[in-house]
């Protein structure tokens, strides 16, 4: 029983992280129907910029005096950085291709992903980069069950960001413009909303969330690697599909389910095949219910 609860907590943590990455996929897909293959790379870049900024703070001795402030500052800086990066990528690789075939955009995204991954490798090296996370150790212990500070922080921050995003999308004018752009780009631009700007903003927000996930993964696992974006990226995409692509609540739910399945699959079935479970879910969902759990009935051509 303790083992089960422990796994539940681990699954929740991992699921929260996947949910954060999945939101970027689902938002971008909702607005321009593109699988942004480079999204996993924004997540990896977030992890790297996070470790760079935290190390900078640590070098100045700020980490010792007030670590939480440093973490908050590095989160803000990293999210801003990745938002700018995503906007630049969108401008270069996706915007000129908006009226080209889907295959062209997909390949451009794939190329961008390879490019960003190698840019990270060349600037930061091929080895794991350790995170200065020793300030955030410790946690609660109930008998055999341990909840670390990091786990609490990840779940807390995930909830915070998700609530913030929901407020943004459903309560503000910007969110309304985003939803309108997702429905009909031409009509939206007729009522004086710049759809280009909204698409850019969608990329920025999605990759900001992925960057936050990148920092937290770095803290949680203790290090980052230049190629860490690919597999979580695919799993997060599986989460987005599972929840119903284009649906924000669905992406959160899908992320949680994928995280849980992975942790329980690894814990009870086989640790070596843990990546397989997410893929099998992805394939099964696409086969039996392509619209996902929360998805509306999309047009057949989209599937």
């Amino acid at each position: 029983m303790e083992y089960f609860i422990q796994q539940l907590i681990n699954g929740l943590t991992l699921g929260g992280l996947y949910a954060l990455i999945a939101l970027g996929y689902t938002m971008v897909y909702g607005v321009i129907q593109l699988i942004n293959f480079a999204h996993g790379e924004f997540f990896a870049a977030g992890g790297y910029v996070g470790v760079i900024v935290l190390n900078y703070f640590a070098g100045r001795g700020l980490m010792d005096s007030n670590p939480w402030l440093c973490l908050a500052a590095s989160l803000a800086l990293t999210m801003a950085y990745c938002a700018f990066l995503a906007m630049a990528v969108e401008k270069v690789a996706y915007k000129p291709l908006r009226h080209q075939s889907r295959l062209a955009v997909l390949l451009s995204a794939l190329g961008m992903s390879i490019f960003l991954q190698n840019a990270l490798m060349l600037t930061q090296g091929v080895f794991d980069k350790p995170y200065p996370g020793e300030k955030f150790s410790g946690g609660l212990v109930f008998g055999d069950i341990r909840i670390s500070v990091l786990q609490m922080m990840i779940v807390g921050l995930t909830i915070l960001l998700l609530v913030g995003l929901n407020l943004l999308v459903f309560k503000t004018r910007i969110g309304m413009a985003m939803r309108a752009t997702a429905q009909d780009k031409i009509m939206t631009s007729l009522v004086a909303i710049s759809s280009n700007r909204i698409i850019s903003l969608t990329f920025a927000i999605g990759s900001g969330l992925a960057a936050a996930a990148g920092i937290m993964v770095g803290l949680y696992y203790g290090s980052v690697r230049y190629d860490m974006g690919f597999v979580p990226g695919i799993k997060a995409f599986a989460a987005a599909v599972l929840g119903g692509i284009g649906n924000i609540t669905g992406a959160m739910l899908g992320g949680l389910i994928i995280g849980m399945v992975e942790i329980f699959g690894a814990g009870y079935i086989s640790g070596q095949y843990k990546d397989v479970f997410a893929f099998i879910i992805l394939i099964a969902v696409l086969y039996f219910k392509p619209t996902g759990i929360m998805g509306e009935n999309v047009d057949d051509t989209r599937v």
Partner: protein, 408 residues
């Protein structure tokens, strides 16, 4: 020209500032808590200079300042094309065959090695072309079939001592079965979803190869696979047969060449057969094709099977040549590489894919000193290619656009 430049200098300047903002944190902040500007600034200057030259050329071309150069060039090109058109096609094919036939006589071991690589990738590219170029189904897990072929030969050879020639059809058949197994559940999907599901399947196959220790020896791979051998007649001491092991590289080169030629002929025949037309109709508009009586279900499955078959052949040969297989050779990046060969060359066009494979294998070998930047340039090239020539270097002649894509 000045006028043309006025239109873009502002966005160019903003873009450069943006670039500076992006590269500086990754290059300029160090782990020990110090800041530096020099490295980031030098890198930025290089990129700025290179992009400025490109931009200048582009603007000059747009405004017509380059006319004195481009006009004679294009005239010369059309003249060459016209002269080449007079010579019949069979002559070119014969010439290519002769040239590739005598290739190992005049070249070094290294060149032959590269040539074998190119030939393997031609097989792979043409196989993927059946799925992506002809039937219009985006497949990102294609390398899995290559892996199936390679592991089939490795396992049969190690455990049962079966020869390469016997294993070749078995590998092709098993890869084809794998293709149909993977193809079957994905037939209902199109476009992006199909791409992501095939990617998932490719990863699953790789993970199985990586983790099934008792069968595949996991990440260590399988060592000691025998190279192909042939039986040749001998005449010393009476007539007899002798088993001759083809260890020399140029023998392997000829096998690869034969495989590539067979693949080219087969794909060409498929392309211009009723099946090929049906695939193309599925690619152009699946609903319409179905209404016209094309059995889309069977044909799409067949496309998967045929594509996988060529990958299986290439895989068995790859294994025989390396005498070693490991899951490392079948990663997603390889799939992306083959896919970009197909797209770079021109989907559905056989000469295009041959050119694409040759370009993507030979160019990195030529720029060996810049090995580190190879994949960086590859990624960028893919983006640039899509921006400026989405149909590929030699586009296929019969190619339309899907009806549902035109609306968006």
């Amino acid at each position: 020209m000045i006028h043309e430049f006025k239109k873009i200098w502002k966005s160019y300047a903003i873009g450069l500032l943006w670039l500076m903002g992006i590269i500086w944190p990754l290059v300029g902040i160090h782990a020990d808590g110090t800041l530096s500007f020099a490295n980031a600034f030098t890198l930025w200057l290089y990129i700025a200079a290179a992009s400025f030259v490109c931009l200048l050329l582009y603007v000059m071309n747009q405004s017509g300042s380059l006319k004195p150069v481009t006009t004679p060039l294009s005239a010369a090109r059309s003249r060459v094309a016209a002269t080449a058109g007079i010579v019949p096609t069979w002559f070119w094919i014969l010439l290519a065959l002769v040239l590739t036939g005598i290739f190992p006589v005049f070249t070094s071991r290294y060149a032959q090695d590269v040539a074998i690589n190119v030939l393997i990738y031609i097989c792979l590219g043409l196989g993927l072309n059946v799925v992506v170029g002809l039937a219009g189904m985006l497949d990102l897990g294609y390398i899995a079939f290559y892996g199936v072929g390679a592991y089939t030969y490795a396992l049969l050879n190690i455990h049962f001592g079966m020869s390469f020639w016997l294993c070749l059809p078995i590998a092709a058949a098993l890869a084809m079965i794998a293709g149909c197994l993977i193809g079957y559940p994905t037939l209902r999907m199109r476009g992006d979803y199909l791409a992501i599901v095939t990617l998932g399947f490719g990863e699953i196959v790789r993970l199985i190869l990586n983790n099934w220790m008792s069968l595949t020896n996991g990440p260590n791979g399988i060592l000691g696979v025998k190279p192909p051998s042939i039986i040749i007649p001998t005449f010393d001491g009476g007539f007899g047969f002798e088993l001759f092991v083809l260890k020399k590289l140029h023998f392997l080169y000829y096998i690869a060449l034969a495989l590539a030629v067979v693949t080219i002929i087969a794909v060409r025949h498929l392309n211009y057969s009723r099946i090929g037309r049906a695939w193309e109709s599925i690619r152009e508009d699946e609903t319409a094709a179905e209404l016209m009586g094309v059995n889309t279900f069977l044909l799409k499955l067949l496309a998967y099977g045929m594509g996988a078959l060529f990958a299986g052949l290439a895989g068995a040969f790859f294994c025989a040549r390396m005498r070693f297989v490991s899951p490392e050779s079948f990663t997603f990046l390889e799939s992306a590489m083959v896919l970009s060969m197909v797209v770079l060359g021109g989907m559905g066009s056989i000469p295009g894919i041959i050119l694409g494979a040759a370009a993507l294998i030979v160019l990195p070998e030529v720029f060996r000193e810049f090995e580190l930047y190879r994949m960086l340039a590859f990624g960028m090239a893919m983006v640039v290619m899509m921006l400026f020539r989405p149909a590929g270097l030699i586009p296929a002649k019969r190619m339309g656009s899907r009806s549902e894509e035109r609306e968006g």
